[in-house]
Amino acid sequence: MIKKKLLGLVLSSMMVLSLAACGGSSGGADKSSAAADSSQGSADGGKITVAIWDNGQKPGLQEIINDFTAETGYQVDLQVITWDSYWTLLEAGASGGDMPDVFWMHSNESQKYMENGILMDLTERIKASDKLEMDKFPEDVKELYVNDGKTYAIPKDVDTIALWYNKTMFDEAGLAYPDENWTWDDYYDAAVKLTKPDGSQFGTAMNPSNNQDGWYNIVYSMGGKVISDDKKKSGMDDPNTLKAMEFVDKLRKDAMPDATVMSETGTDVLLQSGKIAMLPQGSWMVAPFKENEYLVANCDVAVLPKDATTGKRVSLYNGLGWAANAGTKNPEAAWKLIEWFSTKDNQEKQAKLGVTMAAYEGVSDLWKNNTDKFNLQAYLTMLNDSDLVIRPHSRATVVWENKNTANLVEAWSNKVSIDEACKKAASDMNELLSQE
């Protein structure tokens, strides 16, 4: 009997602990299927796997890849994996399994991957290439994927933030549409006027996790910062950051739906369902937004407001990079594909197809014309004629970003003042940065 009980205990503990294995093994399953694909591929002359996380970009990229296959004969398998699973899969692959051959890199994670030799060193190949013009890519974005003087990824795109607004609501309230003369104070005034007391309509919305597409822009435009230039200290307690966050807090209290509503529904859905009148949003959302009938009928895009004191109009920006697996079985094909994506022609094509704005200098004007439903010039004005700030990052960006979100949620739900929340965020972030 005692033995039986013991056995029962052991078995039940297995059930719990195999959870950890679950996480690993599901990744494992993905890996093995990817492995099966690639081994099968090498038989038919080098099939390579490409992984991305944005389904909206798949059709356009597939077209560019088809051209690649026609030109070079390499078979390419393009897979879309959701953001969360994407990083779990790469992490599992990097920890000793199989990885896709070519994939997107993001500034949140790039440093760690570069330092650990997970990514293929492209430096020599770039030098040897006669098709690439590296000086045409934005310096900041290139920097993201350089470590110790070696380049590990080539910029794929850039994104900026602009202001979406509901024309119908502006008309109804008798307000002029946002334009390039707007300051954040005008934004606040309009937002308050567009908020109806019965709670059926609000001026704007922003969640604590809307950083790059939300409060980061206000912070930098008011002269604040999120992280110091040497990436060693938090800027969350910088006086200008505090001032900007107080502005955000005032906006939240006077012109936004309750934090519970915003967190349950998501700000983009609130705009799509006619609940809010204005929303800063990234250029990566244009592809899904142009498919939405309500937005097409009612909304348009303007530039973000500037700050009255500093006179600065700021857009956060970021760019993904195409990287390759250092251990790929087919380095030549992987490199050729990355090179293919990065030529002027294909960067133009990416813009024209409306995949995203391209990283290559000057070709994004073509992106503007991928739809006539919205005035996308606003995103280009943000790109060309405003102060661009690269998305704040350090070695372990995600960890402190999540911590900041958690701390700000406390202020959003009125448990602490925004001042306290930011100062707590700063001290938590400093501690995390010191451990990096």
């Binding site: 297995m14 950890a20 349950e264 448990k415």
Partner: protein, 296 residues
């Protein structure tokens, strides 16, 4: 048992027995037992990127955990969830099983309907409930003209999630109970109704005692299942949700440390703590079974 005394037939049975067990044992060793010890081992390390450069820190991860507030809140949340989910899912399933074991019209349809949630993918279930619960556009608030923040009110959210848990598991428990009920000889019921026992009397004095081994089995597995709740919370709660700190379960915390923050040592420590809690509760249940479980 002395091997030399075995007949050739017994020997052959023994060999075949082992041969048939081998695949399962191998699976257990590779997928469960090895990872278990590996996890315990890992919880004593500060893990480096991509599993390289792990540093031994002794109980460092545990000390760090218990100094913080997250783990305590997660333990409370997990208990709250289990305390609601386990008894209700068992009680409701038991009553349903008794009804659906009797001869009523459309029995098969009812059984199927109650079992269906078990067949649906948990992620899909959670997404549907998330929209039912939505405070602005949700069906529940709109039908009953309520203004309740089911999943973003910190005091309520964990129970809202427990309701989803109950809803999804009832069918499974019910099937186990029905199979248990069919083992009970109908003579007992016939004899007791001759003596004038009402249905309720029969339920408490015949059904429950004779079904107690099944109830015991279900409650053991449900407690373990309840303490391991993750997918519902993960799918329903966004990171901006003010109720997240008050619904985050131990497994969610494990996920957060291991996969979001990529600190596998801390994640392993959380799971080991969960293991200890489950072991203690299971021991208590084993001890308590003597008082109420009847094996005949």
């Amino acid at each position: 048992m002395n091997k030399s005394r075995m007949t050739p037939r017994q020997k052959s049975e023994l060999r075949w027995g082992w041969a048939f067990m081998f695949p399962t044992v191998l699976g257990l060793l590779v997928l469960n037992i090895y990872p278990t010890f590996r996890t315990i081992y890992q919880s004593f390390f500060k893990t480096g990127d991509f599993g390289k450069g792990n540093k031994f820190v002794g109980f460092g991860n545990y000390i760090k955990l218990f100094k913080g507030t997250e783990i305590w809140q997660a333990i409370i949340n997990t208990f709250k969830y289990a305390i609601v989910e386990v008894p209700f899912s068992i009680a409701i399933a038991l009553v349903l099983a008794v009804f659906l074991n009797g001869k009523i019209k459309g029995r098969g349809i009812y059984r199927t309907v109650f079992f269906l949630p078990m067949v649906a993918a948990p992620a899909a279930v959670a997404m549907v409930w998330r929209w039912l619960y939505n405070s602005e556009f949700g069906l529940i608030n709109n039908i009953f003209h309520l203004k309740v923040n089911w999943i973003s009110d910190p005091n309520l959210a964990v129970y809202s999630i427990a309701i989803i848990g109950i809803w999804s598991i009832i069918g499974y428990n019910m099937i186990l109970f029905i199979s248990g009920l069919q083992e009970i000889p109908s003579d007992y019921y016939e004899a007791s109704s001759l003596d004038g026992a009402s249905g309720i009397h029969q339920f408490f004095n015949i059904t429950i005692p004779l079904l107690s081994p099944t109830i015991f089995f279900v409650s053991i597995t449900r407690v373990i299942g309840g303490f391991m709740v993750f997918d519902l919370i993960y799918m329903v709660m966004d990171r901006d949700n003010p109720a997240l700190p008050r619904t985050r379960s131990l497994v969610f915390l494990f996920y957060q440390y291991t996969f979001r923050n990529q600190d596998k040592g801390m994640g392993a420590a959380v799971v080991v703590i969960l293991l200890l809690i489950i072991i203690i509760i299971t021991i208590l249940q084993m001890l308590a079974q003597k008082k109420w479980v009847h094996y005949n």
